[in-house]
Amino acid sequence: MLNTFIPFLAGIGWQDIVDIVINGYIIFRLYIIFRGTNAFRVLIGILLLWFFQRVAASLGLIVTSWAIQAITAVAAIIIIVVFRNEIRSVLQAKNLKTLLWGFPHKHLLTPIEIIIESAFELAKRHVGALIILPGKEDLKETVQSGIAWDGIVSIEMIMSIFWHDNPVHDGAIIIEGDRITEVSVILPLSHRKNLPSHYGTRHRAALGLAENSDALVLLTSEERGTILAAKKGVIHTIRNQEKLKQILEEHTGLAQEPKEFYKKEKFEIILAALVSILIVISIWFSFFKGMETWTTLQTPIDYRNLDPKVEILETSVNSVKLNLSGSGPLIKSLRPEQVMVRIDLGKALVGNNTFVIDKKNVTLPPGIKLNRVDPAEIKVLLDLPIKNELPVQVNWTGKLPAHLILTRATLDPDKVALLGRKEAFENISTVYTEKVWLDKIRSSGSLTAALKIVPAALKLDPGSKTQVTIKFEVRERLPGAK
């Protein structure tokens, strides 16, 4: 166990750690930004679907896997279409700091006392009102948007909003933290049939929202002057301020001390961060380290930083066999051009050089591991090219008219300099021209011909001409010989 674990740890590179940290942070930020929204809950559902799809695929349940895959794809589109407003409002409302590193508190301390006093004042004056205190769930998809308000909660403010002559008195208000964020909000109505007969539209609206969300809805009855609280589909009458205080404290989490509340939130954030990292580690492990697949790749050696004055005379091999491993998908997607073997000849000397090929010489895509190189050792023989001046000779070909004799030819230049390693000059003492045809020659004259440099290991010195001018002399054949 330990024997496999230690090499595994040793195989983790800094890229892997950075990879995990970056992606873990992205997931964590998505949680922080979208927590409490409906879109986030659906996203969790999609992730679960994806997980089941992977399980089904691994178990060989092909059709099930396809079906879940299709549902996941459709659900992903649905989440964007259905929750577009919610996603937009989340992203629009938050600045760059909030998106990248800010930690907005889930709840601000709600001024409970003000709400209690306002509710009892409204009830006393028989003013109908609906006050919504959202829970963890986002209400944007449940209620119809009212009018943005953004006013600090006060008894006067609440009283004035629900005053009969106020244009926005009809509908509910939403209190988030210490602010009234929206007024004149339209709520979904409950369709329950077992409600008391004296319950009007306001009661059904309060119950409707309580049935569809985790929000707390406070209601003051215009006719009876009573206060009711609706939550989780239950509505009951509030007789005194203590009871309302208890309900509000429980709902807002202020039943605990604020310190404890923040401590809990801090714990939740740390837990979310750990879960995000764990998720990425498990994904990384399954993709990059799990199910190791081996492959062998024949890769050409790239010799670099060779001194321009020096030439490679001989190498023991021109390519090496690399034994690589990695996760199945990575090995499958591996292309030969992604793998490079480089030998730095910058410090090589003229003569025999031996190089050992290891990880330093091999460039691999992330996630691919080098296990073995065959051969691991290569020999490179370097030599200094020399410059040699060789005479040029015309390579005459074809047929000269029978009555003519080509007596003389002078070349310009009659010698050219070649560059190459010493061995390449061993069997070469003349540079020939390309074929020069005799068939059309009728009298003395001149022509030009290109040089033919063989073998390919030799190069014409940059200072030498690539072709020669041939001045030739012909005369009539003397009788006596053929």
Partner: protein, 148 residues
């Protein structure tokens, strides 16, 4: 391997030695009277040429291109002075490959000599003859081509 090829190629060459034509000018009494002077003089190549034939101890139709239909090509050399009896070589190269080596004797006071090579169809291409002494010193390189 190389030696065997060389011998084979050498067998293809027919050497014809030309005896001195200027012996009358250098009769033995005169020659014997000036041994110290002749010893001091250096062997030199006075004339050389590739030709289609030899006539009257002289090259006939000197050229640098020879048709394969001629069947034979000659290398003529005239050494003057020749301080002492020695050997010279006509080394035949076909495209930088030594294919024939003719060892020719030359004698004082001067000597004309030649060698020839029999031509065959595969011999078309660039040739050269290096005229050297027994020590390997090159007197002259004669370049020519065998064509259609």
């Amino acid at each position: 391997m190389g030696r065997k090829t060389l011998k084979k190629k050498t067998n293809r060459v027919y050497f014809l030695l030309l005896f001195p034509v200027l012996c009358g000018l250098f009769v033995s009494p005169v020659f014997s009277q000036q041994p110290a002077v002749s010893d001091q003089r250096k062997l030199a190549l006075y004339q050389s040429a590739m030709c289609e034939g030899i006539e009257e101890y002289a090259p006939l139709n000197e050229a640098i291109v020879f048709s394969i239909s001629l069947g034979k090509v000659y290398c003529f050399t005239f050494f003057e002075p020749v301080p002492q009896k020695t050997w010279i070589f006509h080394n035949y190269y076909f495209q930088d490959r030594l294919v024939a080596k003719a060892k020719l004797v030359i004698k004082p006071p001067s000597w004309k000599t030649y060698s020839s090579i029999q031509l065959r169809e595969p011999d078309k291409g660039p040739w050269r003859v290096e005229v050297t002494d027994s020590g390997g010193r090159t007197f002259k390189v004669l370049r020519f081509s065998i064509t259609d």
